[in-house]
């Protein structure tokens, strides 16, 4: 069974045409991979479908804009995957 990171990295590679081997757990989706907000909607769509969740993009964006969170908390892939795991666990609780 593939890890959350493997699934997310594959989604990003296929959605944004980014070489899979350049995507690491420490990659920042925006700063390192150059993914913009519109492309991230496609990624969010694929993640929502793959994991049966709804990534709270609006809440995250608002927190970043309000200075209550850093982009690293949500958009460094290992952190993004941790958030996904939390949402999956919450769904099953």
């Amino acid at each position: 069974m593939s890890t959350t990171f493997d699934q997310v990295a594959t989604i990003i590679a296929e959605t944004c045409d980014i070489p899979r081997d350049t995507i690491t757990p420490d990659s920042h989706a925006i700063d390192d991979l150059g993914i913009d907000s519109l492309d991230f909607l496609d990624i969010a769509f694929a993640i929502d479908k793959a994991f049966g969740i709804k990534l709270p993009l609006e809440k995250w964006t608002q927190e970043v804009n309000d200075g209550k969170a850093s982009t690293e908390q949500y958009f460094v892939l290992k952190n993004l995957c941790a958030r996904i795991d939390e949402l999956v666990a919450a769904k099953g609780a």
Binding site: A44, F45, L55, P56
Partner: protein, 156 residues
């Protein structure tokens, strides 16, 4: 349809919030400055306006699902296909369905038909936000009335 004012939808024929589907109707005008240039001697509805008609149709569906609390804006067009000419005077039936409701965005699939035959289809992505001002909200309320938006669709 008032092309020059971007009013591409004439009336809502069917709106099913539970099924997340909508069907609308629009008649292509027989006269429009658009057709003077697109094209002389061979007037056809521009493909981008067919996409816009699908976007507006999807937009009314999303407005219904969001109870007019947020405004959808077209963000991406995918797999748009123009399968046949649409000419002045033709009556379009435009259908849309929501395929995903995300956080702050939604995706739809839409189709334009004439006489039951598919002329165009597209997959569309929308970002949606709270209405930026009362003026736009008022305009959408007026447009909703013009096209016969069923108010019962907003009931819980």
């Amino acid at each position: 349809m008032h092309i020059e004012y971007f009013k591409l939808i004439d009336r809502i024929l069917d709106l099913k919030p539970d099924e997340k589907t909508i069907t609308v109707e629009a008649t292509v005008p027989t006269q429009s400055t658009i057709f003077e240039g697109h094209f002389p001697g061979h007037p056809i509805m521009p493909g981008v306006l067919l996409i816009e008609s699908m976007a507006q149709t999807s937009g009314w569906l999303l407005l219904a699902l969001m109870k007019f609390e947020r405004m959808p804006f077209l963000a991406a067009v995918k797999e748009a296909k123009m399968r046949g000419f649409v000419t002045p005077g033709e009556v379009l039936t435009v259908e849309a369905s929501v395929i995903h409701e995300g956080s702050g965005y939604a995706m739809t699939e839409a189709r334009v038909k004439v006489g039951g035959k598919l002329r165009s289809n597209a997959s569309l992505t929308f970002s949606h936000f709270p209405f930026p001002n009362p003026e736009l909200r008022g305009h959408m309320d007026a447009e909703a009335k013009r096209i016969g938006f069923p108010q019962q669709a907003l009931l819980p």
